[in-house]
Amino acid sequence: MAKAISVSTTRQRVNRSILTTWIRRLVFYALLLTVWQVVANSGIWPDYLFPGPLAVLNSLVNGFQNGQFLQASLVSLQRLAIGYGISLVIGIVLGILIGRFRTFEDTVGSLILGLQALPSVCWLPLAILWLGLTDQAIIFVVIMGALFSITLGVDAGVKNTPPIYLKAARNLGAHGMALSARVVLPAAMPAILNGLKQGWTFAWRSLMAGELLFFTLSLGNLLQTGRDLNDASQVMAVMVVIIVIGVAIDSLLFAPIERRVRERWGLQV
């Protein structure tokens, strides 16, 4: 009885603290939007340079109603998926090779460490020279953005695999590819996941930077046309869309995987 009561009170307390968190957040954003609207209305800057939140909301609704925003998002997401998918495959293979073989570490590994210091947008001029203003050029930049983080994440994970797992697995008859796929990769999963997350943020950034230069419909291109049309509210509306997509991928894709891995490995109490 006493136990039941204490459980229900702690649950209430937890509920209450979640509630207060949300109230605080709500108040903060309401204040922020209000201040923004007031500043916009004050006329310090012209409307087309500093629109208020209502104007941005209006652009947002318009953008989705005429289908432009949705289509642009789909185009961008598709490029992201292709580029990230390719980086994933190459990155995992490279990471395992670098992590397990000294020769690869001393050669390819050092190259990748060096290339990682280069912001991926710097690849864009070269990509356009080689591939023209095409989808492939953008995807190439996305790959360059994500690949090295993923490779280094896998590499770190593989290197930090407790040797005892490898011994146990070899002892139970595992070798070669099976050893990599069934022991090295899963053992390295927590570190790999960090690399994948970092790779995704870099991919997303590179994609937006790349798309700014392109004429076909996409999120980055919408930002650029907003600028060309002196339409700051469209620019801001597209920024909101980009933020929402980013947060959604983080919280709907990576957060659940991360939680599952942490639970399984017993990293979370």
């Binding site: 139970l172 008859g173 595992a174 999963m189 399984r264 490995w265 017993g266």
Partner: protein
């Protein structure tokens, strides 16, 4: 076939009736002049003096010695996970050149895979052996039951106690039906009560399967309680200083005064070995 012949003299009891396991029992093991020298930046370190050892099929042998006497290294060499600097290991008359599923090593840290649940951990070796799913599941179930973990098939490693983890490790090793179990202080990290229980379980598993067991420990009572023979190692560089045959009935009780006597005698030999080691420094005479 070969080992059937060599079995003759070994104290091999009839397999218990009703034990329907298809296990072939243990195979003999021969260690011929196996030594290990680690070479590092600080120079060469002699971990193990050339060791000779003959272990009969189905025998339970304990290697006893202080930490760093090379007994774990020897076990790794027998498992094929490390190579010897000299000498050969013969399992059932065949030279050991790498890891094989006829010899399975159990570690002090159970070395279970945290990304797999108990059932999948036990199935691991069966899967590598290419056994069909149905057989895998059934075999794993049987061994999980054997180590008294029925009901924990879906648990993950971090949800298990130290003793339960070692049980899973034993089940995982037994599932691939090795002829030789190599145990490297498997119960070293457990509390005394759990350790005693696992001793009894290991003894009964061994009695019913008759696998060859090489058990490394630094615990004298553990060695006496489990082994048919106890080989006492000196500190680094390791070598065998004395051998004891423990002729006590099984299952053994730790309170048995004969067992306590054996333990006391072995303890004094071990102490002497450590004292001479200290006096002689690195130039110990062999045996």
């Amino acid at each position: 076939m070969f080992h059937q012949l060599t079995l003759g003299g070994a104290q091999r009891t009839e397999r218990a009736a009703g034990n329907d396991q298809q296990t072939p029992g243990g195979i003999p093991l021969r260690i011929e002049g196996v030594s290990k020298i680690f070479t590092g930046r600080a120079g060469a370190v002699e971990a193990l003096r050339p060791v000779e050892m003959e272990i009969a099929a189905g025998e339970f042998v304990c290697l006893l010695g202080p930490s760093g006497c090379g007994k774990s290294t020897l076990l790794s060499i027998i498992a094929g996970l490390e190579s010897a600097s000299s000498g050969t290991v013969l399992a059932d008359g065949r030279i050991v050149r790498g890891p094989g599923t006829d010899r399975v090593l159990l570690f002090q840290e159970a070395a279970l895979f945290p990304w797999l649940d108990v059932q999948r951990n036990v199935e691991f070796g069966l899967r590598e052996a290419g056994k069909p799913a149905k057989e895998r599941i059934a075999t794993a179930r049987r061994f999980i039951e054997l180590v008294h973990l029925k009901g924990f098939e879906r648990s993950y490693v971090h949800q298990l106690s130290g003793g339960m983890r070692q049980r899973v490790a034993i089940a995982r090793a037994l599932a691939i039906d090795p002829a030789i179990l190599l145990m490297d202080e498997p119960f070293g990290a457990l509390d005394a009560l759990t350790r005693d229980r696992l001793h009894a379980e290991l003894e009964s598993i061994w009695a019913s399967t008759r696998k060859t067991v090489v058990f490394v420990t630094h615990n004298v009572r553990e060695a006496v309680a489990l082994g048919d023979r106890v080989l006492v190692f000196s500190p680094r560089p390791g070598r065998i200083v004395q051998e004891f045959r423990i002729d006590l009935p099984r299952p053994r009780s730790l309170e048995d005064h004969l067992l306590v006597d054996y333990a006391a005698e072995i303890m004094s030999v071990l102490r002497d070995a450590m004292d001479t080691q200290e006096q002689e420094g690195a130039n110990g005479k062999s045996n």
